[in-house]
Amino acid sequence: MNILVCVKYVPDATADRRFEDDNTVDRVGVDGLLSELDEYAVEQALQLKEKAGEASDGQSVEVTALCVGPEKAVDAVRKALQMGADKAIHVVDDAIAGSDAAATSLVLAKAVEKAGSEGGVDLVMCGMASTDGSMSVVPAMLAERLSWPQVTMASVVETQGDQVRIKRDGDTATEVIGATMPLVLSVTDQSGEARYPSFKGIMAAKKKPLETWSLSDIGVDAGEVGLSAAWTAVEDTTERPPRSQGEIVKDEDGSGAIALTEFLAAKKFI
């Protein structure tokens, strides 16, 4: 079984994230890393590989990390390799900068097709959202482009042959969803803690295959991607003024509860 895991390089959420003059996300001036939420997808892919390795019928699973992003994004790719992915593909091309979700899904779809040209791809795994754009739509768009089903927001993933079953915790119900591979699968942060790369993993990653593909390698015209080809345009970005700190009281013998209640009453919440 061949699993591709999409990994995104994002600005560190704990840093001061900002926009460039053209209203695109500053992906160079702010320290970046592998989107935390994609680590869960890498983890689940590795667990599927490990489970297959333990099974008696011994179906082998290969996990490939797939990243679309600037040169620095190779950091995210390496992290996935250090965690245990077998190999990686990094699609990098200056023309991609500023691409919206639709164009990103196009690049991913073409990369999936090329990756699958030998042996096929059975599963494309994604995190539940990126930590920068956080739209959560790329898995659906990618599935649409590939004409595949999508099963998303999984907290538990099980496979048997070409069948996938997931558990998803919705607002009003917990659902079990089934589908047949190939498909696009996204997992939530409830699916299980992502592993840290071990020293052995870090050393091994240096020798793992890492392919770099350009747009022409995957057959995408530069005019189909990037800021100028985006289907949406940001008009304006405004930093929200920081909230000013209000009154802080120390609770002494019940004074905190009284003060709190008075505040709530003054604001007419009672």
Binding site: W231, V234, R240, R243, Q245, K250
Partner: protein
């Protein structure tokens, strides 16, 4: 005036409040038309509800053949309605299902998609959206530049305004391909209702974190006294103290209530991402250095286990 399609948010034909918010926004952009994908027999009932908020037409798409499948068939149905009526825009509720339908639809129609709008206005007919990004630290305005604007709108983005529409029902027969029926819901276990307001719609939310030590009774007590919903931080959810559906933050819900009370929550960026656009923020925390205090309009440095129950008693007393 062009039609603006609104995908009806409903549970078995019971229309949910975000539908009325979307219809109210649709009226700013054109002539609201509701698209109800559900049981045909309930079409008239749904039309009665949505026409009060300005729906001129109600397209009813029978879901008998597609019920139990994930989003792909609904995206196909919506595509076919859109191709027939050439709407000025398509508005969809911003929840997991809505965003995935929108994602597929955007590719099908080769149209721009904007998600999680908190406001939509009309600039000479073209919708301009407002979004809150980077953990609520930035406000972004944007436009769709290709095709039919597809916009998913977060709950509470507009106050529903009553305005009588014709509400004429049109049955629409969509042709659903077999390939759209790839992902099937094989089992559903409904969650027990809490009797409290829905987190997405609540005006008041009281949330508990690690500081509760697993006992949510003080949090629930204050929430009930104030008529609010109960939320939680990721730490509380990861500890197994409360289900994930209560989680506020980056990987949970993003809420913007009138009043948000954080109890025993330190205020990591991931939590702030889900609540820092709340109108009024209050925190109760033992640790006076907790970053949550940087955001608050009012803070109490103290133990939630004594402060919350005492405040609950005091609130109940004042209510008489």
């Amino acid at each position: 005036m062009s039609e603006v399609l609104v995908l009806v948010d409903h549970v078995d034909g019971a229309v949910r409040k975000p539908t009325y918010e979307l219809l109210t926004i649709a009226k700013r952009l054109g002539e609201p038309s509701a698209v109800f994908i559900g049981e045909v027999g309930k079409g008239a009932e749904v039309a009665e509800k949505v026409k009060k908020y300005g729906a001129e037409k109600v397209y009813v798409v029978d879901d008998a053949q597609i019920k139990g499948y994930l989003v792909a068939p609904k995206a196909e149905a919506l595509q076919q309605v859109a191709e027939k009526v050439s709407p000025a825009a398509i508005l969809i509720p911003s929840n997991v299902e809505g965003k995935e339908i929108a994602g597929r639809l955007a590719i099908k129609l080769e149209s721009g998609l904007i998600t999680d709008a908190v406001d939509v206005s009309a600039d000479g007919g073209a919708p301009v959206t407002t979004q809150s990004v980077f953990a609520g630290n930035y406000t972004v305005t944007a436009k769709v530049t290709k095709g039919t604007p597809i916009i998913t709108v977060k709950p509470n983005s507009a106050a529903p305004q009553e305005s009588e529409g014709a509400g004429s029902v049109e049955e629409f027969s969509a042709e659903i391909s077999d390939s759209a029926k790839g992902a099937q819901i094989v089992a559903t276990q409904p969650r027990k209702a809490t009797g409290r307001p829905d987190l997405n719609e609540a005006a008041i939310i009281v949330s508990g974190g690690r500081g509760t030590g697993g006992d949510f009774a003080p949090v629930e007590g204050l929430a009930d006294a104030l008529g609010g919903a109960v939320g939680a931080s990721r730490a509380a959810v990861d500890s197994g103290w409360i289900p994930h559906s209560f989680q506020i933050g980056q990987t949970g819900k993003t809420v913007s209530p009138q009043l948000y009370i954080a109890a025993g929550i330190s205020g990591a960026i991931q939590h702030r991402a889900g609540m820092q656009t709340s109108k009024t923020i209050v925190a109760v925390n033992k640790d006076e250095e907790a970053p949550i205090f940087e955001l608050v309009d009012f803070g109490v440095v103290g133990d939630l286990k004594t402060v919350l129950p005492a405040a609950t008693d005091e609130v109940n007393k004042r209510k008489g």
